[in-house]
């Protein structure tokens, strides 16, 4: 059955004052459009309650006429036994009462997938099998809108301030353009750079990806472009300044010709609007580093917040093309250089059964990062069923850190007991090489699939560190003043090989057998040599803080599963069995830490589709996480002498059970949706820490395993219309409960947190005005079994407002406000900033491609960063210096090959 519904709003309408109701007439023709169809049924169905308002049949000439149908939102449905149905969605009213459709061509009778097309309220949405398809042209966007602006208009899809996309409450992890990644894996490159006008359809579907521990369902968005937008170039040059301290500059050039894509970009700024927040790697497709699981111990640094004073420069290019019909080549290079300067002030309360004390800390932190990243990819279609993928990448990186930290320890009576001055510098240089070769083979038999993969990873890293710390005891408090002045050199070199075979065999039409085998080998060598200062040079070797480790890890993992799949439901279950052998050799002491772990990792997944737009899902999976080398090595890390860390050779891998239950339903015609998700994760042998507090307040922490950690919660949300679709109402609620065990001074400590939150967003979207207002309230009840002092409930309220209006003379005004109340912060940290931003812009030129705007950020000059963290028996309140009020004048020129109006690219 093929259903095609679309809106006839003013398309075929002629006004007729005298009619008593809806009047339909038209001619129905067959698919080939060469002869009229007689006897086809033409009926009108009221959309609200599906009531049949009237029907007729076409005459021998294919003509029909239906009169005196009541006014309503209704469906005109034409059906014929030999063809697919065709429907028109009509908003009937006395002004829109005569519908004449001169040539109705019925579609072929669909034999495979159901297709329901709904063009309702200018919002055409339909399902193609399991894929939700939005027809872009039917959603009104502003003149210069980019894909992201379009997405914000699509019902069921949300885009947050960072550009992260969720569909039906679930996050979209991948954005494709015409089925391919567009200039890298970062979704926002596509969504912020492609014009909404070039989009034909937006498709959203689910697929499963293996994340190493098991399969996970991810949502993929595929933006399909119109044919005429597949060739050409577009670009943007923009600059902004306040003529004093701040600047932003950006050059973006994209050239594409069907399959050839070339993009050159450069970007520099010293405002928070650099966009280099969440995962630099993702932003410019530097994903190979992040995917490398060989990289133990070195975590990719990302400055996620707007805290501090940033400076960023970035440049590079992306190239991809098809070579012949069978090969696809991709190459990209990115240079990145950024600084961050942060001034932090914090107050921490340490609460014990018998006493409390406080620390006050001032921290001055500066970091510079520089990297060159090169990625290459080659996709080869060996034949119609076989695909070979080769993906090598190289990343050269360097970063340096300089920080000064002064800490005062205060007793319960508020007298200073000791102070610490700390000076740290770090120079780090590294090289990463990764390569993946993957062979994907399909067979003539439907759903029989085979994949073989080999991955190689190499890292080489050298870090030079200087540590100067001066600890003094004051006011007669006991303790020996100590001075540390050390130089450390850390060398690490790792190599990894991974092989993987997976095979899918259809047993029957509905049952599938899934087999998977993985072999993982990792070898790492890490040495740290520490020298103390002798007054002239760093010559005195310090064995306490030096070490040399060799690390070997071998993992064998086999999994078998069964999948049952019908149109209505998917049911999957199976288990993975694995053996992990770890040999951690200390070359200094000639001792070994050996681990031999066997795991069974069962999983099951059930999805029931009441309809394409209404689903219930249940997932159970188990996962196990290995300790990192640093967590295992019993070596002191004194880079912060106030909190020294040490590894634990007996640390076991974790074992976690996770259950997820979700339901979502969405009604296309009413543009309403509702979703609810519940989760529960319990972890055995979870990684935690054992903290020993020295009498002077300094700590030593050690990684340990604990049982009984879990977190659980329930979230629900909905999108509704009120006042005849004038107002959108989006409520959401959530409840969560977490339990976390740790050890403090050899005593077991259990921390729980109960959280409640609820929010409501109201929005009005009219032709030239958009207004939205939202509020969120969350209430948290932390409880710690050891220390009752930290068990203070607190609440966080956030309010936000957004307003934009199109003004005459090609002008536009936008403003947004954020208000934030965090209760129960300590004195001096209990601030409630109100942030208001506004901008006024005017478009010039015939194409309106030149924009001049005035922007005011944080008009009330209130921006501060306040942060409270409660960790076991420690409550820490911290403020970080951020850029507050600033004004910018921005000039921006956009251009394209069409010499027409170009879509805006916004940056965040």
């Amino acid at each position: 059955m093929k259903h095609l519904l679309f809106l006839v709003f003013s398309l075929f309408t002629f006004s007729c004052v005298y009619s008593q109701g809806m009047h339909y007439s038209g001619v129905v023709n067959d698919t080939m459009n060469n002869q009229p169809l007689a006897n086809a049924v033409v009926m009108v169905v009221n959309l609200e309650d599906s009531v049949l308002f009237g029907f007729t049949r076409t005459n021998q000439k294919g003509e029909f006429e239906l009169k005196d149908i009541p006014f309503s939102e209704q469906e005109l449905l034409i059906s014929h036994p030999n063809y697919g149905d065709k429907s028109y969605y009509v908003i009937g009213s006395p002004e829109n009462n005569r519908i004449e459709i001169p040539n109705i061509i019925l579609p072929e009778k669909a034999t495979e997938l159901d297709e329901v097309v709904v063009f309702a309220n200018k919002e055409p949405i339909y399902f193609k099998g399991d894929t939700l398809v939005y027809v872009a042209d039917s959603f009104k966007t502003k003149e210069n809108a980019v894909v992201e602006d379009l997405l914000k208009k699509l019902p069921g899809i949300d885009v947050d301030e960072d550009g992260n996309i969720t569909s039906q409450g679930q996050s979209v992890t991948k954005v494709l353009v015409d089925g391919d990644e567009f200039f890298g894996e970062d979704p926002t490159v596509a969504t912020k750079n492609l014009g909404a006008k070039g989009v034909e359809t937006v498709e959203v579907y689910e697929t499963t990806e293996d994340n190493g521990d098991g399969e996970e369902t991810v949502q993929v968005m595929d933006v399909k472009l119109k044919e005429e937008y597949k060739k050409g170039y577009f670009g943007k040059i923009a600059g902004a300044t306040d003529f004093q301290d701040f600047y932003e500059g950006e050059v973006l050039l994209n050239s594409f010709n069907k399959d050839l894509k070339l993009s050159v970009f450069g970007l520099g700024s010293n405002t928070p609007n650099t966009g280099f927040g969440v995962g630099d790697a993702y932003k410019y497709g530097l994903t190979n580093e992040l995917n490398a699981n060989f990289e133990d111990g070195i975590s990719f640094s990302n400055n996620t917040s707007r805290r501090g004073l940033p400076r960023t420069f970035k440049g590079g290019f992306y190239y991809s093309d098809k070579i012949g019909k069978k090969a696809k080549l991709g190459f990209n290079y990115t240079y990145n250089n950024n600084d961050i300067q942060q001034l932090k002030e914090s107050k921490s309360q340490f609460i014990f059964a018998d006493t409390t004390y406080t620390t006050r800390e001032n921290n001055n932190f500066f970091e510079n990062q520089e990297s060159h990243a090169i990625n290459l990819s080659l996709d080869l279609k060996l034949d119609s069923l076989t695909k070979l993928i080769v993906e090598p990448s190289v990343n050269i990186k360097r970063n340096s850190i300089e920080q000064t930290d002064s800490t005062s320890f205060l007793s319960a009576l508020n007298s200073r007991t000791s102070s610490t001055l700390l000076n740290n510098t770090l120079d780090n240089e590294g090289l990463d090489i990764n390569a993946t070769v993957r062979l994907e083979r399909q067979f003539m038999k439907r759903k029989r699939e085979f994949t073989a993969e080999y991955q190689y990873g190499y890292t080489d890293n050298e870090a030079d560190e200087r540590l100067y710390s001066d600890i003094r005891y004051l006011n007669g408090n006991p303790g020996a003043d100590s001075l540390t002045n050390q130089s450390k050199v850390t060398l690490s070199n790792t190599q990894g090989h991974r092989g993987r075979l997976s095979y899918n065999e259809p047993l029957t039409r509905k049952w599938n057998l899934e087999l998977d085998y993985k072999l993982d080998y990792f070898f790492g060598d890490q040495s740290k040599s520490t020298n103390n200062f002798d007054g002239q040079a760093f010559t005195i070797f310090d064995s306490t803080f030096s070490n040399n480790f060799e690390n070997t890890r071998l993992e064998n993992r086999a999994s078998v599963g069964l999948k049952y799949e019908t149109r209505k439901m998917t049911f999957k279950f199976g288990t993975a069995a694995r053996n992990v052998q770890i040999d951690n050799r200390n070359l200094f002491t000639e001792t070994s830490i050996l681990q031999d772990v066997n795991n069974l990792l069962p999983y099951t997944r059930f999805i029931y589709k009441f309809s394409n737009a209404e689903r219930l899902r249940f997932t159970y999976r188990t996962s196990s996480q290995q300790p990192t080398i640093t967590q295992l090595q019993p070596i002191l890390d004194n880079s912060n002498p106030n909190s020294v860390a040490i590894g634990n050779p007996d640390l076991l891998p974790t074992y976690a059970h996770s259950i997820n239950i979700g339901y979502n339903k969405w009604e296309a015609l009413k543009r309403q949706w509702v979703w609810i998700n519940g989760y529960f994760t319990a972890t055995n042998d979870a990684f935690s820490s054992e903290v020993i507090y020295a009498p002077d307040g300094r700590t030593i922490s050690r990684a340990i395993n604990v049982d009984g950690n879990f977190f659980t919660g329930l979230n629900a949300g909905a999108g509704l219309n009120a006042f005849d679709k004038f107002l959108r109402v989006q409520p959401n609620i959530g409840v969560s409960y977490n339990k976390f065990n740790s050890r403090i001074n050899t005593l077991d400590n259990t921390t729980t947190n109960t959280g409640f939150d609820g929010g409501l967003e109201l929005s009005i979207d009219r032709d030239s005005v958009f207004f939205s207002i939202g509020a969120n309230y969350s209430y948290n009840i932390p409880e710690s079994s050891l220390s009752f002092g930290s068990n203070q409930p607190y609440s966080i309220q956030t309010y936000r407002m957004n307003f934009s209006i199109d003004l005459p003379w090609k002008m536009e005004f936008e403003t947004d406000a954020d208000y934030f109340i965090n209760s129960n912060l300590s004195a001096g940290f209990n601030q409630t900033p109100l942030l208001i931003n506004a901008s006024l812009s005017k478009r010039f030129l015939k194409t309106e491609n030149l924009t001049l705007s005035f922007e005011a950020n944080d008009i009330l000059n209130q921006n501060i960063d306040v942060n409270r963290t409660i960790n076991n028996n420690v409550i820490m309140d911290r403020t970080t210096q951020v850029i507050a009020r600033y004004f910018l004048v921005r000039l921006q020129l956009r251009f394209n090959n069409n010499k027409t109006k170009v879509e805006d690219e916004r940056w965040y």
Partner: protein, 245 residues
């Protein structure tokens, strides 16, 4: 494509095109089978008589519907009931509907006597669905009639049969109703066979005396006046059930 294949394709097209016009049915006879689930029908009845009859077994009866483009006659089959004690349990209405002249003639049995209904065609509010099933080889679409708060009736109709009629007094869908069922499945009509032929509908109209004709409203009024005061059963419910079909 060579000329021969082209010709052949054209021929195929012509054949399939002629099929399109050939397949619509304007005249014919439909055999319906009605299954009545007596347990459901009498679930609230605790009369001792009920213990004597086999309620487990569904009662199966046949009906014929003769139709042309604008009228139809619905008649029970001549086959007698297996168990004569149970014949009265189910209705055996005879119905003539003329959609051109908006005329309904129905002969129903009321406590052993015949009632003649002469009225206009019954109108029902149909709700359309996308559900489909094949009945007697015809692709049918399901529509729903919410008769009252407690009764919902499903109807499957075939567009390929041009006459907008159906079993009993049912009509009003863009095609012939080939399946009719109460939501609980207590009473189900399904077409077993559709014969395409020119049957004389007029000839089969039940003969009645013009003076015996009463409208539904008149019957309701008369019956309520007669039996409305009775405590042992609900007259309105009985009438609603009678005129439901």
């Amino acid at each position: 494509m060579n000329a021969g294949i082209k010709k052949f394709a054209t021929l195929l097209l012509v054949i399939s095109a002629s099929n399109v016009f050939g397949q619509f049915t304007a005249n014919g006879k439909i055999e319906f089978q009605r299954r009545t689930n007596l347990e459901k029908k009498f679930k609230d009845n605790d009369s001792p008589w009920m213990n004597k009859v086999n309620l487990k077994k569904p009662k199966i009866e046949s009906f014929y519907l003769y139709f042309n483009d604008s009228s139809s006659v619905f008649l029970p089959s001549d086959v007698v009931d297996e168990d004569p004690r149970m014949s009265w349990i189910t209705s055996k209405n005879k119905v003539y509907q003329n959609f051109k002249s908006d005329e309904l003639l129905e002969i129903m049995s009321f406590w052993g006597s015949e009632l003649v209904v002469g009225d206009t065609i019954k109108e029902r509010v149909w709700k359309m669905t996308n559900k489909r099933r094949i009945i007697a080889g015809y692709d049918c679409r399901r529509a729903i009639w919410e008769a009252n708060d407690s009764t919902t009736i499903y109807a499957w109709y075939a567009e390929e049969i041009m006459c907008s009629s159906g079993p009993e007094t049912f009509n009003g869908l863009p095609g012939m109703i080939l399946g009719l069922a109460t939501e609980d499945g207590g009473v189900v009509y399904f077409a077993k066979e559709v014969l395409k032929d020119n049957f004389d509908v007029e000839k089969r109209i039940p003969k009645v005396k013009e003076k015996d004709k009463l409208t539904e409203a008149e019957i309701r009024k008369a019956v309520t006046e007669q039996y409305g005061a009775r405590k042992d059963f609900n007259v309105k419910e009985m009438l609603d059930e009678m005129f439901l079909w």
